[in-house]
Amino acid sequence: MKRRDFFKTAALTAGAAALGTSDLSAGETQQPIDNRKISDVAFPEKRPLITYSDRPPLLETPREVFTSALTPNDQFFVRWHMPDIPQYIDEKTFTINVNGMVKNVLKITLDQLKNDYEQVEVTAVLQCGGNSRSAFNPTAGGIQWGNGAMGCAHWKGVRLRDILDRAGLKKGAEWLAVSGSEKAAYYETPNFVRELHLDELDDHVIIAYQMNGEDLPYLNGFPVRLVIPGVYSDSWIKMLSNITVTDKYKHLFFMDHAYRVPDNDCECETPEKPFPKTKPIYRMNVKSLIGYPVNGGKLTHKSHSVVRGVAWDGGAGIKEVQISLDGGKTWDKAQLDDGSAGRYAYRTFRYSFKPMKLGKMSIMAKAINKLGEEQPFAKDVKWNHGGYKFNGIDEVKVEVV
């Protein structure tokens, strides 16, 4: 196996494709494509970000943002499924509709949401199930995201459970079909609807109207979105406008075909032998990312250097982050923040060292959660057709000068 060339980072121009050939043997997972160029074009309420598509908008957060416990709203990644996103929401007339098997059909205005219910807050990581997809080889289907299809925010809103209590569930109610306001180009196209089982709802699941102390940006789902801490973002419905309570699971494209992994222990398969049974990607696995330094960066010889980054999982909480400066042979503990942001938030880490040797060097980070689960080496992450749930040990390569 040949590793990628040392500084052969894929610095691509704005809007350029994530093409480029891999010299790895088939099936060997690598580090995701890194250092893609930030676009020159800023989207509404956003700074310029890595841009994969304008319609629907797909924007990735660059690596260096991930030294912070919270990801700023204007750098927070964006991912929509449908081309037609409402360009304007009237805050006075917008309602969240709750219907189906309920005793009281509700049309909740934003004013009611903010005043008639208990207000709660949670800090939680929002990560696309396809984050880091470009690590997979052969190329998995879907947008070839680098590491930044994720962010962590402090969310404020109302418990979904409280809203359902107000509506009053009828006997036999089991499923929630949740949808937002994005529309397809064709009337016949299935809407982006997620189905949640009532058993999945705990008190941390909220309908949020605030993100990091501000209104949600339009492109992150203004005026309200679902927040499901610990779970991948495909279920965090944006511009949430309708909740229908049912007794039966409805077979929908986005539930039965998208965002699924092989239903076996390794959640893996090969392109030649796809695994017949699949399951939702659901809970996030343990992962970390180095925010500083970045690939191709320079450190000063014999000077104090501090590696910084974030670690997270599906809600068990991060126990430890370890750093390796010798390609994964030996590991040393990084310092963690106090964890006060909670078990669904990024746990920031830092690791101080003096680079004593001139030249190129590798820095790796590995997170271990409170269940004892730890990140595998990138090369050991097994392939799946959708390129979901990559959580290989992160590595950046720098030069000491």
Binding site: A14, A17, T21, Y52, S53, P56, Y88, G141, Q144, A185
Partner: protein, 100 residues
């Protein structure tokens, strides 16, 4: 008069939206490759998504691209004719193929 002014301010506060008026998502000119069959790609694919969606899938096999076109027809109900579907398949395989 002063009292009136204060009342007016309070009344306005809850209406202060972060964004006033419509948002507009900018247009990005993605560097899609020109070639035989491009017209069919433009006519059929662009209705629902940008060219960025195509070129950022990475290089893929003919089977993959055919599967994507079928997904658009079967699941997303895109009205793509059989003839155009084949033209698009050939185009994608030629320009964004992986040799398989």
């Amino acid at each position: 008069m002063k009292k009136l002014f204060i009342i007016a301010l309070i009344a306005l506060t809850p209406l202060m939206a972060q964004v006033k008026g419509k948002i507009e998502v900018p247009y990005i000119a993605f560097p899609i490759k020109m070639g035989k069959g491009f017209d069919a790609v433009q006519a059929n694919c662009l209705m629902c998504h940008s060219f960025g969606y195509i070129i950022n899938q990475g290089r893929q096999s003919r089977k993959f691209w055919r599967g994507k076109i079928d997904k658009m027809i079967v699941h997303f109900k895109a009205p793509i004719s059989d003839k155009d579907a084949k033209i698009i398949e050939d185009y994608l395989t030629e320009h964004y193929g992986n040799g398989k």
